[in-house]
Symmetry: C2
Subunit: 404 residues, 2 copies
């Protein structure tokens, strides 16, 4: 290994671009709507140079909103060290210049208003808006470079019930078995159960963090995160060293929504992060699904409140999830196996004649017509049909029901 | 008591009309679409006389479809005896000529197609269609003479779970407490629990039977039916002596749907009578609601399948039911009490500054701006707001978080 800066050979992108994006990723707190829009306009290398210079007037001046977003951190440049650390951990920086960038999935974040209706108004950057990330710090063999279609988010309460944990594990395993990638936030409770369910069947799973890629949060999930990084993908828009903070979970949730074709909320109390992820997913045009649960459970309260919104679907089985996240007309859920009865398909009048028959006492045609209230002239037809199906037998001119 | 026929003084209607309706009620198996339409046209007294005569040609001939519907039973006239039996049990015959007739509620049955799309096509009477009843046999002080608005149906599985039984009892009691009449089918399981829940709080309840008013079905509900008849109303379109038969439950279910502003399915397996009632309710323009349950319960399978239909609402609380069965804009369910936090309403930047504060170590403004990624020039404003809310305190030019 040479003594110079380590090459970032895990990425096909020009090193100057990677360094610029790594710097820009730390210089503003996501989602940095003004910076993201401006970088898309002038390019990352120019943007990084001008943010570092920090001119507020003259030809190289920063747009005022960009200046505000970057004022506190523009002197902090750890890009070289960050990329070295990333490589040491077998990671890579995924940037828009890379074919792996999930452009289709993330495009919506640059376009739509946030859940609070915040947009990128001039002079009033909507920091809580859903701006596209400047880069994604990633570990693991999993790749993001397809459209969101094959990915499903399973999210929910940290303090989940045994019921919720069971559903998360079981459905994640089933989705992974059917070739879907299970995306979640690596949190305690539902998130962890979803990742574990996918891993248990050797399936694909992606953990989206609200902290740096070098942090194990929650600490008890350190081993789980290593498993995911070994077999799937751990990804974050926060640079190394970033600590988890409440607002970062909300910002992270928009990324989970964007990266997936649909979000399934397994359990959620009222006013939970999972409910917010679901609403952001709806705003991005993704499927929003809730798993029902007992109405007596506080952990299903959020799901049942969400279920009343017209854009939210109730999913009672994995087949429902597949139907929701697939193009219209594909993967239609077939009704659950319904019991068939030997009387299925009988004419309503024939059905009544069948009801009027007794297993024990043979009855006359007149009696049967009266009981059933059917025209006596039609009775022979009905009895013949019942006899042909093995549902009736004649006994000296009278009729008896046969066990089905 | 005189030896002659007992007067039916429980009804304000002319005795000849009552006798005609009592006869017609037995002479065809409900729903008798052709007979119902023809009685509405020529009147019950004329209709009864001509059905008794049974002419198939000449000026008094029956319409062919009416002849078919009445062929098997036209010689059976027990009207006098039926009315005497009814009166002996404290009952009354409710007919369209009576102000108590629930005309608004039942009107839809004469107009719309059945759940299978069956209509009253010439020569092919849709016997499974939703034709209006010819009369209602009733016991109890409860009355039906208002529009369906104040009535809610609670229906569901006979082999219900403890969860379903709890929901049915609890919600029925709550609905009754709020002045609603709980309508159900007196079956084992959910139906019985719903009636009991309403009775337990001294509320109004109506049982709609699929057999004669003189029958206790299921037998173990004989006492429950007496309680309902004592305090509410037991009602059926089947004449005395009619036995419960499978097709009669389906026909009865349409009456439950019609008499109520909405139907709540508490628990339902796939392909259950409760699911059918729900779909008929939808066809009549009534609210269709399902109570969610564990996805692991076969008894919630039908509810969750129904929940995927656009016309079906998920109800997680009684407030949701009231919203669904009330005119638009009334009885809107307020969101469940959500926990409030001292940081509610803070500007996103101020929230980030709050997150950057430590409870233990006082931090400089520069450090806070950097951590939070907010413009240092705005920091004083944010810290002042946090201090005013009691969320931050200064300590010799540095800042510390205060416990919320």
């Amino acid at each position: 290994m040479s003594a110079g800066p380590a090459p970032v050979d895990a990425s096909p992108v020009d090193r100057e671009v990677l360094l610029a994006r790594a710097y820009l990723s730390r210089v503003a707190e996501p989602p940095a709507a003004a910076l993201a829009a401006w970088v898309a306009e002038v390019g990352p290398v120019t943007a990084a140079r001008r943010v570092r210079a920090g001119a507020t007037d003259g030809p190289g001046a920063l747009p005022p909103a960009v200046a505000r977003e970057t004022a506190a951190r523009r002197d902090t440049d750890r890009a070289e060290a960050d990329l070295t650390l990333l490589r040491a951990r077998g990671g890579r920086l995924i940037v828009p210049e890379d074919p792996e960038w999930p452009a289709v999935a993330l495009a919506g974040l640059g376009l739509v208003a946030g859940p609070d209706g915040g947009g990128g108004m001039e002079g009033a950057p909507a920091r809580e808006g859903p701006a596209e990330p400047l880069a994604l710090w990633a570990r693991g063999p999993g790749r993001l470079d397809d459209a969101p279609r094959g990915r499903v988010a399973l999210v929910g309460a940290r303090a989940a019930s045994e019921y919720g944990l069971w559903v998360a594990r079981d459905w994640a395993a089933d989705l992974a078995d059917r070739g879907r990638t299970v995306v979640s936030g690596a949190a305690l409770g539902i998130d962890g159960a979803a990742h574990r369910g996918a891993l248990a069947v050797g399936g694909a799973t992606v953990a989206v963090l609200a902290c740096g890629i070098d942090r194990a949060y929650p600490p008890t999930h350190a081993t789980l995160l290593d498993h995911i990084a070994h077999r799937g993908l751990v990804v974050t828009e926060y640079p190394p060293g970033s600590t988890p903070a409440r607002h970062r979970f909300l910002v992270r949730n928009r990324l989970i929504a964007a990266l997936t074709a649909g979000t399934v909320v397994v359990e959620a109390a009222a006013r939970s992060g999972a409910m917010r992820t679901a609403l952001v997913a709806g705003g991005l045009g993704r499927a929003v699904m809730v798993v029902p649960g007992p109405v007596t459970s506080a952990l299903s309260l959020g799901c049942h409140e969400l279920a009343r919104r017209p854009e939210v679907s109730v999913v009672g089985r994995v087949a429902h999830v597949l139907e929701e996240v697939s193009p219209v007309g594909e993967d239609i859920a077939t009704p659950p196996g319904t019991p068939t009865r030997p009387t299925d398909g009988l004419d309503p009048d024939a059905l009544r004649v069948h009801e009027a028959l007794s297993l024990h006492a043979a009855r006359t045609a007149v009696r049967l017509a009266h009981e059933a209230g059917v025209d006596p002239r039609d009775l022979t037809t009905h009895l013949s049909e019942l006899e042909a199906r093995g549902l009736a037998e004649s006994d000296g001119g009278r009729w008896r029901r046969r066990p089905g």
